[in-house]
Amino acid sequence: MANDATQSIQDPATAGEDQYLTFILADEEYGVDILRVQEIKGWERPTPLPNTPDYIRGVINVRGMIVPIIDMRLRFGMEPLEYGPTTVVIMLRVISEDRERVMGIVVDAVSEVYSIGDDNLQPAPDFGTRIGIDFVRGLATVEEKMILVLDIDTLLGPGLIASEDAIQEGQSA
């Protein structure tokens, strides 16, 4: 456990360390910056949106705000999982194009909160798959587990939002 990156969680002020909330997708663990997590909700059926990719499940009402819900398994091209009692939605603040949006991601389950130092973040290798990896901030090892730390601003940013927008615009012109 020499390179165990878990430090005292009670001490988030440690220089160069950020806290991450991790979640599970098909037994893999992913981390997101905890400061961007607004709340964690149970799954509820969203209202589907027309002509959007399947990973955009629709929108739900969060205290009067209309929030889109994105299924992470579908986003990463993984097998879909039936939504069950442990399925959770993590509400994230996504900042892109000088705007802040709130979006929910559907994950299998929420796992832990870890402090991970920047030094312990390794750059992601070339996955050589069709999945672009520009939204992976890096890989960390915590308690012998691999955690993929995600950059949610890229993952849920303009690329995801604008998808098909161009087609639609052209169509309506």
């Binding site: 589907p48 027309p50 739900i60 009402n61 209309i66 889109p68």
Partner: protein, 695 residues
């Protein structure tokens, strides 16, 4: 002494902008000899001058002074009201607006323009009284002035000074004897137009030894008008022995600008301090600028009656609430009488519903402002344009009091300006051309606003030459919007004017050819949830109709069920709902269902399929259709069930996502579920768009 003046400065600026608008409107309506209007304009100029002086915008107050003098002469009949003078005053209004904006936002007003306009005003003033010496540029009527004063009369053409300069330096004890300079000034103000400058040099530099009951200040007052010297002396009668007082006729005081720092310039502007306004402005205005916010304030004025009504309603709400509390307590105390209490509870809830609805309406009403706020800029625009183009134009405005949501209003200005410009530039012909066509040489442009249904309708009409649909067709083909073999109806051709890249003007003029086309106008109107249509008759004129939602945030909706999803369709878009009759269900190309409604074939939309949420299903013989219309296009939505009608609060999907074609946003239903609001115009476009894609 670093009191925060910024809030007062802000109020002054806001009022001044309003005053300028008034001046502009009145100037445009000004006819020769219309004294009442002149008075109004004069008062507006006067208060701007006074305020500017108080807040240290000396360039503004100096500049306004010249205007004021000119206006004063006009109302005294010494200066004729000519179109040239009115134009000059309008230019002056622009300069003032620039200066005020500079004062508000920081930045520089254009000193050259200010100097030029000022010089023109001075030249006009000079012309009006060519034989007068600078001392008596504006001799006033009256003539009942006590001419005994030694200072009185040098060089006056009719022996009457046009006002008095009063130096008033109270002795330290003046306040202790119960005298108040302010009251005296108020009396003076009744005698004529009063300008007050305070000299605070007598104030001790530190608080040490400062006597709060002593008077340290001195004043220089300028009283314009035909007041009698004796009247002024009477005002100071009680304090004669407690102050140093000199009263001298205006214009003769050589020391007027030397000894008393912030004194007004002589009305003819020939005083030693008539430096170019720009330079002075930057110096004097600087501190105030730093304090004022650089952005336009987003405050709005609300009719006090609206606020009062709101307070009343909140009062009722509180009563209803306590009634409901009371009912619940009684139910607990005496369960045997629950039956009766339920009856009361029901009526209480009905009351609450009424309160809520009224409150909602009133709160929305606060945001409603009369459309006049946008219309007001047009008389000036038309005035300027007709002058520039040599066209004669009569602008008619109707329904200015029609109220519209402030947000809608704010985005309405630019499109409307563009449309009115177009009407004048391209629509209205030159006077001789009109005469030759047997029309009144004066063209007419009408702006009208009215409410219809839940919409505000704005029409811009002109009686000009109308649109040349052949040219539009030609251009549309050239721009590739139409295939050569396509021959749309004349009415449809006209709508191509709203497509990007189409301008039918033979020569692109300075006015309309600014690269902002009708497509931008349409985009803006669409962005507000509205529609725009054009009608035109060659030789008779054009009419642009803009339909806008009353408010952007609430609308009446019809709830529908389609494939287990609940949707909301704007009630206004619904033409009718009907049960299909098998003989009227038609099919085109084997897959495109049409429904024959009276003499019209309407495309039937399978919304779930269009939205990519289900496989297209064949059209059953019996189905429920909702026929909806937008943008002159009708579509029939196949729905599974019609639910209730209700007011819905529109929420945009763009806040956290993006615009979704086919929807006009979303709303939250009573059970907390989100329902999408359908955009009928968008669905119509998607329907036709999908068909071409599928082909």
């Amino acid at each position: 002494m670093s009191m925060d003046m910024s809030q007062f400065t802000e109020a002054f600026l806001e009022e001044s902008f309003e005053g300028l608008e008034h001046m502009e409107t009145e100037l445009l309506a000004l006819n020769a000899g219309d004294e009442e209007t002149l008075h109004t304009i004069f008062r507006a100029a006067h208060s701007i001058k006074g305020g500017a002086g108080t807040f240290g915008f000396s360039a503004i107050s100096e500049f306004t002074h010249g205007m004021e003098t000119l206006l004063d002469r006009m109302r005294n009949g010494q200066q004729e009201t000519t179109p040239e003078i009115v134009n000059l005053l309008l230019r002056a209004v622009d300069v003032l607006r620039g200066q005020l904006q500079a004062a508000r936002d920081g930045g520089e007003a254009d000193p050259a323009e200010a100097a030029e306009v000022r010089a023109l005003i001075e030249a006009t003033l000079g012309d009006a009284a060519p034989d007068a010496t600078p001392d008596a540029l504006a001799p006033t009527v009256g003539g009942n002035v006590d001419g005994s004063g030694p200072e009185n009369g040098p060089g006056d053409s009719d022996g009457t000074p046009r006002g008095w300069r009063i130096h008033f330096r109270p002795h330290a004890d003046l306040l202790r004897t119960g005298n108040d300079p302010l009251r005296m000034f108020e009396v003076l103000e009744e005698l004529g137009e009063l300008t007050v400058h305070c000299d605070a040099e007598g104030l001790p530099a530190t608080l040490e030894g400062y006597d709060p009951e002593a008077s340290y200040l001195a004043w220089t007052l300028e009283l314009r008008g035909d007041a009698d010297r004796a009247d002024i002396e009477e005002v100071f009668e009680w304090v004669e022995d407690e102050c140093d007082l000199t009263i001298e006729p205006l214009e003769t005081a050589g020391d007027s600008t030397g000894a008393h720092p912030p004194a007004d310039p002589a009305p003819d502007g020939s005083g030693p301090e008539s430096t170019p306004p720009g330079g002075e402005d930057s110096a004097a205005g600087a501190p105030a600028r730093a304090a004022s916010k650089p952005t336009e304030s987003s405050s709005m004025r609300v009719n006090a009656a609206k606020i009062d009504a709101l307070i009343d309603m909140v009062g009722e709400l509180v009563i209803t609430q306590s009634m409901l509390t009371d009912i619940s307590e009684q139910m607990e105390e005496d369960p045997s009488r629950v039956e009766q209490q339920i009856e009361r509870l029901r009526s209480g809830l009905a009351e609450l519903e009424r309160n809520t609805r009224e409150l909602q309406e009133s709160v929305m009403g606060i945001r409603m402002v009369p459309i006049a706020q946008v219309f007001n800029r047009f008389p000036r625009l038309v005035h300027d344009l007709s002058g520039q183009l040599g066209k004669q134009i009569d602008l008619q405005m109707e329904g200015e009091l029609t109220e519209i949501d402030k947000t809608v209003l704010e985005h309405l200005g630019d499109p409307l300006v563009h449309l009115v410009r177009n009407a004048i530039d391209h629509g209205i012909e030159m006077p001789d051309e009109r005469s030759a066509a047997g029309k009144d040489p004066t063209g007419r442009v009408t702006l009208e606003a009215y409410h219809r249904g839940g919409n505000v309708v704005i029409e811009i009409r002109d009686d000009g030459r109308g649109m040349n649909s052949d040219r539009i067709l030609e251009k549309a083909r050239a721009a590739g919007l139409l295939r050569p073999d396509q021959n749309p109806e004349p009415h449809e051709i006209l709508q191509y004017i709203f497509e990007p890249g189409l301008s039918t003007a033979d020569q692109v003029s300075d006015l309309s050819g600014r690269g902002v086309g009708m497509d931008v106008v349409k985009k803006n109107i669409r962005g507000l949830g509205g529609n725009i249509e054009l009608h035109s008759e060659p030789g008779r004129g054009s009419r642009v109709t803009i339909r806008l939602p009353l408010t952007l945030s609430i609308m009446d909706g019809q709830l529908l069920k389609i494939h287990d999803e609940t949707f909301v369709i704007p009630l206004i878009a619904i033409v009718e709902s009907l049960q299909t009759e098998p003989e009227n269900v038609k099919q085109a190309f084997g897959k495109l269902p049409l429904y024959r409604l009276r003499d019209e074939y309407i495309p039937v939309v399978d919304l779930a399929a269009l939205f990519g949420q289900a496989e297209p299903s064949p059209m059953p013989d019996r189905a429920l259709l909702v026929v909806a219309e937008a943008d002159n296009q009708r579509v029939a939505l196949r729905v599974d069930d019609l639910l209730g009608q209700q007011q819905v609060v529109i929420k945009t999907l763009e806040t956290n996502f993006r615009r979704v074609p086919g929807t006009a946003g979303a709303t939250i239903l009573g059970d907390g579920q989100v329902a999408l609001i359908l955009d009928v115009a968008g669905i119509a476009r998607m329907t036709s768009g999908r068909d071409t894609r599928a082909a």
